[in-house]
């Protein structure tokens, strides 16, 4: 039993004080010490003993007494012991300050400690132990650099000062200079081999930090050997065990951790690790308890960060994002250097993402990424954030990086694919496919959404078979299979009921009745819908309709399926059924803008203008005017309204056009890439005569529209062609019409054929015009207007042929044949008119018949003349031939006679022959020139000058605008745009009347007449001249004239609205694309009420 002996003053006796039996009251001892004037080292020993026994109060009491002014006075020469006492007190307060958690008290302790050390220094400023103490104090205060200086002073004096070595090692450790720290610890151990286990702990920690885990473990093990109760070493060992990442290691680690906890329940580190463990085992209650304890016992920032993190994580996993966020935040606050402990940033980022604070989340993830630039999860998270912030390119960049770093992360590929959908479908498809093959390789089930997306992308790229495979894979086995494969037989239905076929869902009832289970899991509805959509695209409308009906049978609220069925019915012209289906859709959601828009289309188709407008309005209102489709429909409505009326009301027309333009522009402002709005704007511009601008627009739209199977814009082709036509570029217009017909309509659209015929007509390609019209009749037999037009064309052709100055008998013959055809066509129309097949005026037709008959009569002389002429030519040729033969014979005779005599004369002779031939040539020309004479005669027979002139005047008055135009557009093609505008209005007029406009230029006939008019009027007027020329047979002129001008006015047939806009396919692509990724309904009805 250790004891000290206090020498009794002035005697040899000593007071024996057993150290384990120190009195409770320190004053007793103090009395003795003071009374016996015991050496100061005894004071210190006793104080230290108290301290060891945990009697801190007594310890303090003795030392404070031992450092009081009395002692200073009395023991003034005992320097070392006094310093020792002061240092002890300093160390004590340093320690108090170190463990104190309350800032104010903490500082007070440090101040006291500083005071004691300063006092010690005053006694001897070179005492190393004071410096060591000061160093420790500074270290405790976190003032690493000053601590370093303090220890350095000591070590400079004595490089083997163990406490200073240890202190300095600690400093170096804190500065992160682990190898230096390790050296210092080692030196301390060499100098003092039996130093406390803690030194080895330091070595272990250094080794650990240096990554020498085995040596670290050895060091910790050695510590435990020396001091089995050393909690820190236990914790350290446990951590190394845990980090082995093996089940056995972790279990061992946890056991150690638990032991450490049992030894010393307030080791924050151990508490954190235990909490961590229980987090993973899911015992959140323990996690909270442990971390709260840890937080209470430690002041160490990083450890606290760890504790907060554990707590946050616990709440996070429980879904309490608010609390989790707060604790993450607290954790982050404790961290000075994010690279030391980054997890809370990640967690905070996650929680903020969850709570929608994208910017903060982004900055936190950015921090994580700074430290772990290759962390896939972080990259993906950032990718997500950028998507939501609308920075797709950045998002893609991150996702791409994530997939590059971990090329086996199917999830990353999946997400990358979703990102790419809107920008680069090809790349998106590749990403999805990679994800799919990764999943398949890993033996995992491929999610339905992934397969659906792959299908949709294939679909969009027109790879229908692949799309079908993918959708089928997504669907798997089910009640739909027999329908898709067609093995389920069609149910016989009454033909009159077949009208409502697409509403019939009886077959599923029957299936159920027959014991089949009709099941459709919710997550398969989308792929099924898409498959149906695909079947539609593949023209298997029947299969598609059954699939849509199956969806509706199980999910009667699936609006898009109704709409698709309605679209199928509409494509088959079953308007009534289509309307009913749309109404079914509206029953589900009476504000559904798609359904409303479609209803409007159908009403328009039924010629229900007012209703249609209301419906479009409703559609527009339902979306606060944000739905481009509804707005465009309204625009189209206005446009149609503008050009609808045959008797145009210029004022109304202008209003409607203006309104249409406004609506198109509104859409363009919202979606600058909306092709249909651009097209519409182009149309309005063209209507107003800005052809160059509209041409540019159409060309761009056409380019943009190519390459997407969902964007079919034949209208823009037609519009372009119309513009070419209006600008007189007929060959281009023809090409454009033809391409459009072939590309979009399988050559079945008689309306475009009519446009084409009209162009040929203008270009005076009569045969092409006729053939084109015949094709159109063949396609649309009940369109009598086409027959009328064909008749007009034949009539025109004949007239122009007869006007030709040179024509063969065959030409005249074919002309006559065509005239007879024309008469037949008109007569049929005339006969049919009393049956009300068509809306023509009988009188008008009769006029045409009369006219044709007259021309026919007039043509007979032409024919005779032509035949006569041909005969004459033949006769002359015969005569000439015989003449030449005779000449030849005589020449030969002459030659033979003179051959031997006058060879030299031969050349002269030849010359003469040549002269004779020239003469012959002249004669021939004379014969020919007699032909026009006969023609002129002909005309004078039929020409009624008087009538022609009066006609001229009348037309000049009534149709001035038209004339102006035709002359301008022909002769002043380089006019500025301002003029173009005027012209254009006239083009419209003229378009309506095109039948009778005579292309100028060709008919240079009577010079006198032509010169009589000023150049401007000439071109236009000539046209009537030409008509009169051929039309003028006799007394009926007046009546006919009237009839003609009438037909000019309300000729419905050749009217060619400059542009035709099919709204049906208007669904804007932007919206569609947007939907595709997330909502797997990529291909919903939305995009195509066609």
């Amino acid at each position: 039993m250790a004891c000290v002996y206090i020498p009794v003053q002035n005697s040899e006796e000593e007071v024996r004080v057993a150290l384990d039996m120190l009195p409770r009251d320190a004053a007793d001892i103090l009395d003795i010490l003071k009374a016996e004037q015991a050496p100061l080292d005894l004071w210190l020993i006793i104080a230290r003993e108290y301290f060891k026994q945990g009697k801190v109060e007594q310890f303090r009491q003795i030392l404070e007494e031992g450092s009081g002014p009395e002692i200073d006075e009395y023991y003034s020469d005992v320097r070392y012991e006094r310093i020792a006492i002061l240092n002890a007190l300093g160390a004590y307060y340093s320690y108090l300050g170190k463990i104190e958690t309350k800032q104010r008290e903490k500082e007070e302790h440090f101040i006291l400690a500083t005071q004691y050390y300063n006092k010690a220094s005053r006694i001897d400023m070179h005492e190393p132990s004071t410096w060591v103490g000061k160093g420790q104090l500074l270290l405790a205060k976190g003032d690493v650099e000053q601590a370093f200086a303090a220890f350095k002073i000591v070590l400079d004096g004595d490089r083997d000062n163990v406490p200073a070595l240890l202190g300095q090692a600690c400093v170096e450790f804190n500065r992160g200079r682990y190898s230096e720290s390790l050296e210092l610890y080692k030196r301390a151990l060499i100098v003092h081999p039996r130093c406390p286990a803690a030194v080895r702990l330091g070595i272990g920690l250094c080794r650990y930090k240096l990554g020498q885990f085995d040596k670290a473990r050895q060091a910790f093990a050695r510590v435990l050997q020396l001091d089995p109760e050393n909690a820190e070493a236990l914790v350290a060992l446990a951590i190394t065990d845990l980090h082995t990442n093996e089940a056995a290691g972790i279990r061992k680690g946890m056991e150690k951790m638990q032991r450490a906890f049992e030894i010393y329940p307030y080791c924050a580190m151990a508490l954190n690790y235990l909490a961590n463990h229980f987090f993973f085992t899911g015992q959140h209650f323990l996690v909270e308890q442990l971390t709260e304890t840890a937080l209470a016992v430690t002041n160490h920032g990083p450890t606290k960060a760890h504790s907060y993190y554990n707590l946050a994580r616990s709440y996070h996993s429980k879904g309490d994002y608010e609390k989790a966020g707060l604790y993450y935040m607290a954790s982050v606050k404790e961290i000075n250097k994010p690279y030391e402990f980054i997890f809370p940033y990640y967690g905070l980022g996650q929680v903020q993402l969850k709570l929608g604070d994208l910017r903060s989340a982004q900055s936190n993830f950015d921090k994580v990424l700074e430290i772990y630039p290759d962390n896939c999860e972080t990259l993906k998270a950032l990718g997500h954030i950028y998507v939501q912030l609308g920075q797709t390119e950045k998002a893609q960049e991150f996702m791409r990086k994530a997939t590059k770093i971990d090329p086996r992360d199917s999830q990353a590929f999946f997400e990358l694919g979703e990102l790419l959908i809107s920008s680069d479908t090809g790349a998106a498809l590749d990403a999805f496919k990679t994800a799919r093959s990764l999943l398949k390789k890993g033996g995992q089930e491929v999610p339905i959404e992934l397969l659906n997306n792959i299908g949709v992308l294939h679909f969009e790229r027109g790879e229908f078979e692949l799309a079908e495979q993918s959708f089928k894979e997504a669907l798997g086995d089910g009640v739909w299979l027999p329908f898709i494969e067609g093995s389920e037989k069609f149910q016989e239905i009454d033909a009159s009921a077949s009208v409502l076929q697409y509403k019939d869902r009886q077959l599923f009832h029957r299936l159920e009745d027959s014991g089949r289970h009709v099941e459709l899991p919710w997550n398969k509805v989308t792929p099924l819908f898409n498959l149906a959509r695909l079947q539609e695209q593949l023209h298997n409308a029947e299969t598609a309709s059954i699939l849509y009906r199956l969806i509706l049978y199980k999910y009667p609220d699936y609006v898009d399926a109704y709409l698709r069925l309605a679209a199928i019915a509409k494509a088959r012209n079953n308007v009534q059924l289509s309307i009913e289906l749309v109404h079914d859709a509206l029953k589900v959601n009476d504000k559904c803008p798609n359904a409303l828009s479609m209803l409007g289309e159908l009403e328009l188709k039924n010629d229900d203008w007012v209703k249609a407008k209301e419906t479009f309005r409703a559609a527009s209102d339902a979306t606060d005017g944000k739905d481009s489709y509804a707005t465009l429909s309204l625009g189209n409505w206005n446009y149609f309204a503008a050009i609808r009326n045959e008797k145009r009301n210029p004022k109304l027309e202008a209003t409607h056009l203006e309104k249409a333009k406004e609506l198109y522009t509104r859409v363009l402002l919202q979606h600058p890439a909306n092709l249909y709005a651009a097209d519409g704007a182009g149309v309005v511009l063209a209507e107003k005569g800005h052809f160059d601008v509209s041409k540019d627009i159409f060309t761009q739209v056409q380019e943009a529209a190519s390459g997407n199977i969902f964007v079919q814009m034949p209208d823009v082709w037609i519009n372009l062609a119309h513009v070419y036509f209006a600008q007189g570029n007929f060959s281009l217009a023809v090409k454009m019409y033809q391409n459009c017909l072939r590309k979009f309509y399988y050559n079945t659209d008689s309306q475009i054929l009519l446009y084409l015929a009209r162009t040929y007509y203008e270009a005076e390609q009569w045969q092409d015009c006729k053939k084109t019209l015949l094709r159109a009749i063949h396609l649309a037999p009940s369109n009598y207007t086409l027959r009328f037009d064909a008749g007009v064309t034949l009539q025109k052709f004949s007239a122009s042929t007869l006007q030709k100055t040179k024509k063969t008998a065959d030409e005249v013959r074919s002309t006559i044949a065509e005239l007879e055809n024309a008469v037949r066509l008109f007569s049929q129309l005339s006969a049919a008119s009393n049956l009300h097949f068509h809306g023509f005026d009988e009188k008008k037709i009769d006029t045409h018949i009369d006219y044709c008959k007259n021309v026919l009569a007039a043509a007979k002389p032409h024919l005779e003349a032509a035949i006569r002429e041909e005969q004459q030519i033949r006769q002359r040729q015969e005569v000439a031939r015989q003449h030449a033969l005779a000449e030849e014979a005589s020449r030969k005779a002459e030659e033979q006679r003179k051959f031997q005599l006058e060879r030299r004369k031969q050349e002269d002779e030849l010359k003469r022959v040549r002269q004779q031939e020239e003469h012959f040539q002249r004669i021939k020309e004379q014969w020919k020139s007699s032909t026009p004479g006969s023609k002129r005669r002909e005309r004078s027979e039929i020409d009624d000058e008087e009538g022609g002139n009066s006609e001229k005047k009348k037309r000049k008055g009534g149709k001035k605008r038209k004339k102006d135009k035709s002359s301008k557009s022909r002769y002043e093609t380089e006019e500025a745009e301002a003029d173009m505008m005027d012209d254009q209005e006239d083009v419209e007029d003229e378009d309506a009347n095109l039948n009778y406009r005579e292309p100028t230029g060709q008919n240079d006939q009577d010079d006198a007449e032509e010169n009589a008019h000023d150049p401007l009027a000439a071109a236009g007027l000539e046209d009537s001249d030409a008509e009169d020329d051929m039309a003028a047979p006799s007394s009926t002129t007046g009546r006919r004239r009237r009839a003609w001008s009438e037909s000019d006015d309300d000729e419905p047939l050749e009217r060619q609205p400059l542009s035709r806009e099919n709204s049906p396919e208007l669904r804007d692509s932007d919206e569609e694309v947007k939907d595709e990724g997330r909502r797997p309904n990529g291909l919903d009805a939305a995009e195509d009420e066609d």
Binding site: E492, I493, A541, E542, S782, L835
Partner: protein, 321 residues
């Protein structure tokens, strides 16, 4: 069942070929293929090599339909100028020229006995029947106008008759119109029986099954082929698959297969048991206006033949087996 291309004649006509039919074999010659075109001619083609036998002229404005008498001796062709020309197939001698203004003429069909020629009358909303012995007009079968206050305006053109078909027993006559309805007549009583509904777009071609007298097939612009039981007034089946108008159809002599020609430039072969397309021929480059199976009979000709004609001016011949 399957089709195998045998021979194609490019530029068989100068213009679009719009109609085709087989002229049955006679005792003196095998069956011939007859085609009519926009170029205003009718041509006759012999053997599997499609040798041009004769070119008949005399039409104006394009030949829209051709028909052959079951005897194989008489042919008829109709053109857009609304004349029907009846001629001797082997000599091209004109037998008669038929017209019944104001009706136009569209599809022509001889009845199975060969006693009557039925002509689809277009806007007159009727079928005209001509006696093949006297070439006099036997009857006009009008489609009853739907009841309604205004029989005028559009309804007239809606019932525009495009196509006709005789039932194999010759007792029924069906006609297809622009509005998609099919009307069935009792020939003996010259009486309208009922409509078959389901199409809402022009029905350009109709044909009865040669083996099931009630089964009627219709081809419509709605890209569908319907199968009706023409007596029960019921829709037996609907087949989709063409991308555009179905312009013409014909049933194989064995009644097992259906061939269709479409604006989508293809010829499809359908298995009537499976009710599914089994083959798609895409050798034409434009609308296929006519398809026709060669009727059985003739000297030693057993194998099946299908001919198709198109806007691309060509004729194609296939082996059907």
């Amino acid at each position: 069942m399957k089709l195998a291309g045998l021979k194609s004649v490019e530029n068989a006509h100068d213009e679009s070929v719009w109609a085709t039919t087989w002229v049955p074999a006679t005792e003196t010659r095998p069956a011939l293929l007859m085609t009519g075109s926009l170029d205003e001619t009718v041509k006759l083609w012999g053997s599997d090599e499609l040798v041009l036998e004769r070119t008949n002229t005399g039409h104006s404005l394009g030949v829209s339909s051709v028909a052959a008498h079951p005897s194989g001796l008489i042919g008829a062709s109709a053109s857009l100028d609304s004349f029907v020309r009846v001629f001797d197939v082997d000599t091209n001698a004109t037998i008669a020229t038929l017209e019944s203004p104001p009706s136009e003429v569209w599809q022509l069909r001889f009845n199975p006995e060969g006693s009557t020629l039925a002509v689809a009358g277009g806007g007159s909303a009727s079928i005209t029947l001509w006696d093949t012995a006297t070439w006099g007009l036997v009857a006009t079968l009008p489609i009853p106008r739907p009841e309604g206050p205004k029989p005028s305006d559009k309804s007239g053109s809606k019932k525009f008759v495009l196509s006709v078909a005789w039932s194999p027993d010759g007792r029924r006559l069906a006609c297809g119109s622009m509005d998609g309805t099919i009307s069935v007549f009792d020939v003996a009583r010259a009486k309208f029986l009922h409509h078959l509904e389901g199409h809402f777009m022009p029905v350009r071609s109709l044909v009865y099954s040669p083996v099931e007298p009630r089964l009627l097939f219709s081809a419509s612009d709605d890209a569908h082929v319907h199968m009706y039981d023409s007596e029960k007034k019921s829709l037996v089946g609907a087949m989709s698959g063409h991308a555009s108008w179905v312009l013409s159809l014909d049933v194989s002599p064995d009644g097992q297969a259906l061939a269709t020609g479409s604006s989508d430039r293809t010829v499809r072969l359908w298995d009537l048991n499976m009710r599914a397309a089994v083959q798609t021929m895409s050798n034409h480059t434009d609308q296929v206006w006519g398809v026709a199976f060669r009727p059985p009979g003739g000297t030693g000709v057993r194998s099946g033949r299908l001919a198709s004609v198109s806007d691309d001016k060509s004729i194609s011949l296939y082996d059907y087996s």
